[in-house]
Symmetry: C2
Subunit: 175 residues, 2 copies
DNA sequence: TGGTTCATGTTATAGTATCACATTTCTCTT
DNA sequence: AAGAGAAATGTGATACTATAACATGAACCA
């Protein structure tokens, strides 16, 4: 198997975990996810406007964290505005609607591989190749919830990021 | 700095979880932690120099995330340099040596309440009162490790932050 | 005592993010 | 179809966060 299906079945996150770290049919996985974003927008009455859509495509084209200013540069090169709010607004829209994630540790963004699934993402950041992938986070979310509950804290959102080495870089004998 | 608790007794973190959110003898908890930092530095041959010590005190005086520039302002007011590297170097030292934590989501810093324990912190950030507290993160670290292992990812460090409402703000009927 | 290392200080600059306001586009209602 | 209101986009200005590069000074120890 070298590509991802766009479906949202629960078994999928386990299958796709670390997808970015493996070889796969990239144009197919991008196309599928754009289609899924379109469907999602239609479903929910959201407007996936040209800037927003293009911003998502830019994130999808890389399987890595991309800075807002890098997205901005590419948008500007295609005729959109070239001021920071252009990129930040598009990215914020994508994040708020579950089509992308913000990676706090890197002050950067990545496309979500399971848009629509209401998941708390856990992201893995490879320090050698800089690629970023999502992993299933339900067990992590449960643990966070448990620890927080013990302190009487009501969790509304989480940031869970693992830093280390991806399988490919480990295999190549990095660090 | 890695997870895998090094030897702080497990009962302690549970007891202290959410301390910042409760009433407590603040000057006592600060003094104790400065003493602990001194001991730690002596033990490990680290130099808790005046800037570093003062930076730690500043973090301890607030039970909240403090930005580097706010620390800098206070340091400068006390005769230390007033350029960003002064604050960043002191804060980096504290973070590297487990005396403070960086909060990625806020681009800010907080004093560690368990210096010396080699823990991966989980921090809880209250959106209403902006206070920040640590919670035991061993179960979370284990879950992160598990999800990462399934993707062949070798975890070297983690960022785990929960956003929401602390017990005090919940009791006061916030949002 | 001279050299090495580490800590501090400074200048300059890079990178990230938001505010405030003008203009356009969309949408709904009448 | 016209107009009011809301949403989206564009722009200028600015605030906030962080690091690079290099100079000076203090501590350590052979």
């Amino acid at each position: 198997m070298n590509h991802a299906s766009a479906g949202g079945d629960p078994g999928k996150s386990a299958t796709d975990a670390g997808l970015a770290f493996r070889r796969h049919d990239h144009s197919h996985c991008c196309g599928g996810l754009i289609a899924r974003a379109d469907a999602l927008a239609a479903e929910r009455g959201l407007k996936l406007t040209p800037v927003r859509r293009r911003a998502l495509e830019i994130l999808l084209e890389e399987h890595r964290a991309v800075g807002a200013y890098e997205v901005l540069e590419r948008l500007a090169g295609e005729g959109f505005g070239n001021k920071p709010p252009v990129a930040y607004r598009a990215l914020d829209f994508l994040v708020e609607n579950g089509m992308a994630h913000r990676i706090a540790r890197l002050n950067a963004f990545m496309a979500c591989m399971h848009p629509g699934d209401d998941h708390t993402p856990m992201v893995m950041i490879c320090r050698a190749c800089r690629s970023v992938a999502e992993a299933p986070a339900e067990p992590v979310a449960a643990a966070v919830e448990g620890s927080a509950a013990a302190a009487g804290f009501a969790v509304e959102g989480t940031v869970v990021e693992a830093l280390g080495l991806c399988s490919a870089c480990l295999a190549r004998g990095e660090g």
